[in-house]
Each structure stands twice: as structure tokens, then as C-alpha cells.
Amino acid sequence: MMHRGLSKRNWGIAAAVLAFLLLLPLFLPRFYVYQISLILVYGLLATSLNIVLGYGGVFQFHHCVFYGMGGYATALFLTKTGLPFVVSFAAGGVFAAILSFLMGLITIRLSKLYFGMLQISLGSLVWAIIYRWYSFTGGDDGIHGIELPDLVSSPRGSYYFTLAVTLLCLFVIYKILKSPFGSVLQGIRDNPVRSGMVGINVKRHILAALIIAGFFGGVAGSLFVVVDRTVFPDMLFWTLSLEVLVMCLIGGWFKFFGPMLGAAIVIALRTFVSGFTVYWALVYGIVMIFVIFFLPDGVLGFFEEKIKPAKGRAIADKG
């Protein structure tokens, strides 16, 4: 937790992954590029959830509301106004942050499981409004075939745009979590009572974290519009929230890149297993059980534990 920057080995891994992601569209078929884009979108969504879940200890059970809100905001701005793409895109994050603030004002009064239950109810309310409001949101049909500017309308263009935005967001989230704000947030996760005792206004701090998480969830929703050109009410249905929660757990919710890895595992499972059987959810469930029993710190937590001796040496070398 006190590492100064990345170790040499981690830099190597990061560079390799980045090179792979950059070169990917040049040799992979379109279908896989699309899947990787989805992984980036869901990865960003899961990482944004993890700001409050893994780092804040908040049971944000219905995070997808902000994802859907971001998606719908961008889609509606693109189809109903003539504003430039950049404005429409930014509207996603901003509207999601506002919604997160309003919901947070109410949910913050409760804690732990009660917080989560209240959030599911309020989130379902938002879902119901979008699901029923045919004249404005398109109801259960959603909005399809959204026009995008040329730059991001080609498969390759949308992929690179998604990659760039995701990396930028991950960088900002990383900075925030490593800042005093992030440290205090982790303190609250470990011990809310003591945090109050050392002079932190716990509720206000959590509310700020909720707004930040909502914002980045909204950005992920806007990115989905760029990748898929559609929005639909299922984007903010609670089952998707559950799936994103599972991504955090599988990947490792105490690690920064855990949710990203979890998203990759879940999407890959869904894509490949559903090619063999319609019961892919069964396989998914079994994987989930194994992770909970054998890898309580998630897949990433498990592998970091495995390479720990090497890491310990690196720290010792540094002094």
C-alpha cells in the first residue's frame, strides 16, 4: 500500500497489455474487437463500483442505475438535441453523478445491508420510469441505431475511443484512490466508528465517493452507446448490478485491477460457453462457487499472493 509507483515487473506487464490492446484491431476479427470493447466498458463499470464497494465498504447493490442513466443521457442528447458529440458524451457522466447525489442523500441515512436494500428499491424506481416512459425513452424498446460522428462510428474508431476513455478514467480513479481522499475512504471501510472519532464526517465522505462512483459508472454507460449504438432498460435492471458485483468479487475487490480482470473473465465465459450450451449461467455459477471457496481474495488477489516473494525482494532492494 505504500509502494512508490509500479515495480519494474508491473511496468512490463502494463506495457505488454497496452501494446496488445493497441494492436488488437489490426489482426483480430471484428467480433472479438467488439467483445474486448465490451470488456473495457464492463471493466470500467466494475472498477467504478469498486470505488465504493472495495475501497469504501459500501454495499452499492444497484450500481447499474448510474450506468443506464449515463447511457440514456448520452443517447437522448444524441437523438433529441443537435449538441456536439462531446457534450452528449459528457452528459452521461454528469447526469449519472447528479442521480447518484440525489439517491445518495436518501440512502446514506442507512448503512450496510439496509443501504443496499434501499438502493435496490430506489434504483428499480428509476428503471420503472425509463421502462414505462415510451414517448421519451422508447420504453422497453430502448433507442436503437444511434447516429455517431464519423470518428467513432467505425468499429476501429469506436474501439480506440473506448480504450482511450477507459484508460483515462482508470488513471483518474487510481489517482483518487491513492490520494488522501482515498486513504480516508479506506479508513472508513475498515472502521467507520473510529473514522468519525478522528474527526472525519463519515456520511459526507461516503456521499462524495458515491458521486464519483456514479460519475464513472455513467461514463461507462456512455461508452456502451459508442460501442453498441443502442440503449435499453435492461441496462439498469438489478440483475446486471448483481453481475457487476460478481465481477468485482471474482477479480478481487481489494485490488485495483481486480474488477477489470473479473469483467474479462465473466464476459469471456459468457461469450465462449454460450457457444456450447444455453446453460452458460450454470457454468458461471459453478465458477463463482469455486472462487468464493478457494480464492476469497479473487483471482487477482490469488495470483498476487503467488508472486509475493518476488515482490518482497523488490521492496527490500529498494531499501
Binding site: 489517482k175 483518487i176 488522501p180 486513504s183 480516508v184 479506506q186 472502521n191 472519532m197 474527526g199 464526517n201
Partner: protein, 247 residues
Amino acid sequence: MLKIEGLSKSFDGFMAVSNVSLDVKKGEIVAVIGPNGAGKSTLFNLISGVLKPDSGRIIFKGENIAGLPSHAICKKGLSRSFQIVNVFERMTVFENVQISIMAREKMNWNFFTPSSRVLIEETMQILASVGLTEKKDSVCGLLSHGDRKVLEIAVALGGNPEFLILDEPTAGMAPEETGRCIDLIKGLCDRFGLTILFCEHDMELVFAIASRIMVMTRGATLIQGSCDEVRGNQAVQDVYLGGSEVC
């Protein structure tokens, strides 16, 4: 500095603290003693804002702080440590103290400076003053019990308090650790001019460092006075010490 008048708190009809009065002057070390269940911890929870009192006043530096939330009380210069170690388990010793200082410096709204570069000196100073410098990078879940109790005090010190409440600072400590803790508490009072209110079962410790003692039983104040007064008081001997000679 701290004056408590007629403080009461009941849980479902059980009077945990009833009509307690207490007076602590600046620079004093005052001990609260009493049998288990006398209401010592409840009293501390009321003062530090964990619980809200039913009635009564808590005057700290001329201001009634009864019923304020704990973070607001902390900002006024009153910190406390806990009987059962209550720290940030997944974080290192250094980070534990650092968070406490961050809160005091109102740094918790700083989003972009890496935490690893702020308040290093201040944190190290506190760690040095309690003797935890060498363990600064240990995750506190893995510390020995004695070190955790000391860390508990160090976290409270991060708020740069004028008034420190210690809830059984030596509970569960080995004898040699207790000695270290006595030196630490005395040092805090002498060197930093802290006013300290603490409760403790270890009578040796109480008589060694307290300037005055308050005895509680069944939620009420029995007596408040100097060590000798308390030692010689017949009621205290009956209630608390079962009639036997003290020490």
C-alpha cells in the same frame, strides 16, 4: 476543562449512567474506576459522542458538547482510544496514524496528491513519541496486542488533542508492556501538556499516575477525590474492594 453535570443514559430502562458529575482541570490525569458494568465505558461513549445522553450537560472548554456527533467533538480537541482495539485493520501502522492527521488537517478533500507524499514528518513524529517507528510498515492486523494498544493511543494523538480519553489503556497487556504504557501516558501529560481521563482495572497503574480518582458504581458517582481520599474512603472499600485494604 471538562465539566460533566447530571449526565444520564438508559438502555431500555436500565440506567447505565445516572446523574454522573465529573470535573477535570487542565493538565490533570484523572482516573475513573469501578466494578465491571459500573458504566465507565458508557460514560466515555457519551463524552466522545458515540452515544447521545438522555439528559445532562458536558461542558468542554466552556461549551456544551452533549449530543454532538463524534467528528465534531474531535475537531474541538477531544480524542479517545478504545478498550477493545479499534483501528484500521487492513492498513499499516503508518497509514493508521496518517489518516488521523489527514482528518485533522482537513486533507480528506484532497483528490490528487498521492497519500504516500503527505504528512510523512508529522506521522513519524507521533510514531516516534509512542515508540512504534520500527513497526511503521506492519499491517496492524498482525501486530502484537501490546503494540496494538499503543497504536490505539497513537491514532488518537493524530488529532492533536488537548484532552485525551483512554479506555483501559493496558487491558490484556503483559506486565512489562504495562510499564511501558505507564511511561507513555505520563510522558504525554508532562511533555505535550495533555489532559487525560482514563479508566483502568489495574490499581497499581491508577495510583501510579492519576492525580485524582472518580469511583463509579451502578452508573452513579460514588466519590471523586485525591488518591488518598479514595484509598481511605469506607464506601469505596465496601463497594469496590469488598472491604479489604487497598494495595
